[in-house]
Symmetry: D2
Subunit: 96 residues, 4 copies
């Protein structure tokens, strides 16, 4: 896992998976932008697409969160930075 003196970083495999998914989110946003060029577009169809984008973003977040828990949170007591780790996590989870 982590060696003692390396700073905390996002796992490389998760980082590349997150990039891949986020590229697809970007494509989805571009699709909604094209929808919005159509002057006959219906509000609810836009809202559905926005929800779908939010859902896809949420999946990226879950991926990164799971990796953070596995790599950095469960090991925090051993490193001694548990207080910072817990506060950061509570801050992020507040808005979920």
């Amino acid at each position: 896992m982590k060696t003692c003196c390396e700073s905390l970083r996002l796992d490389p495999g998760v980082r590349s998976d997150a990039r891949r998914r986020l590229l697809s989110v970007k494509g989805h946003v571009e699709g909604v932008l094209r929808m919005l060029e159509d002057e006959t577009v219906y509000c609810v169809d836009v809202l559905k697409q926005l929800k779908a984008v939010e859902g896809a973003l949420g999946k990226v977040g879950q991926l990164v969160l799971r990796s953070h828990l596995q790599e950095h949170v469960v090991t925090a007591h051993g490193r001694g930075d548990e207080s910072r780790i817990v506060e950061e996590l509570m801050e992020i989870l507040k808005y979920r």
Copy 2:
């Protein structure tokens, strides 16, 4: 507001406001993609940016929702399509 026989469409002013905001969301997603190229990036910094993007997307959704309520939902009884309008809305709000 609507003439009787026009189909329901997103208000043009709201449509262009939504496009403007969504372009900024796309820029924000590109920023997170650049973050993810950095192999020292910290999970929590990524999670914070993802939350910010979700927040910005949520604002676009609120804009479109408010317009839909004003233009199409409060007038549904007059048009006689209230049952479809209510079901669509409940479906969208379920995932909020």
Copy 3:
């Protein structure tokens, strides 16, 4: 539906359904209170029960929201109070 001069009120059938469900929510809360008397209770079991209670509360909210949409929102243009109705709704949905 509404006669012109009656003030807006929750539909009686929905009101009694909401009461019935809310009584069950209250029973569920009492169950969690009993869980919390047990000094060996595990955090995650409490969190799961709290989620379940939130889910049940959310169902009551959906019931009341659907009725509000059907009875008061889709008819707002006819009554002429659409501006108040939309603002109230946006305020409530903001926190969903």
Copy 4:
């Protein structure tokens, strides 16, 4: 903190704080039940109270979650149950 062989349990101070808050949630639910006996009650007033109850429940959840993170999650690697701990947490956070 934990002795090595004690099973994971909710911290006693947090447990009693959670009980106190949950008693107040129960009182709030009883208040909404009384509201629902009034046949002139307005949908939106009920929805606002339901949101307030959800908010109060959410605070209890945050309290228990923070304690779980502090007492059990940051120490999971030391105990060797990190895989279970992470899965449980992801499951709970999914519904937030």
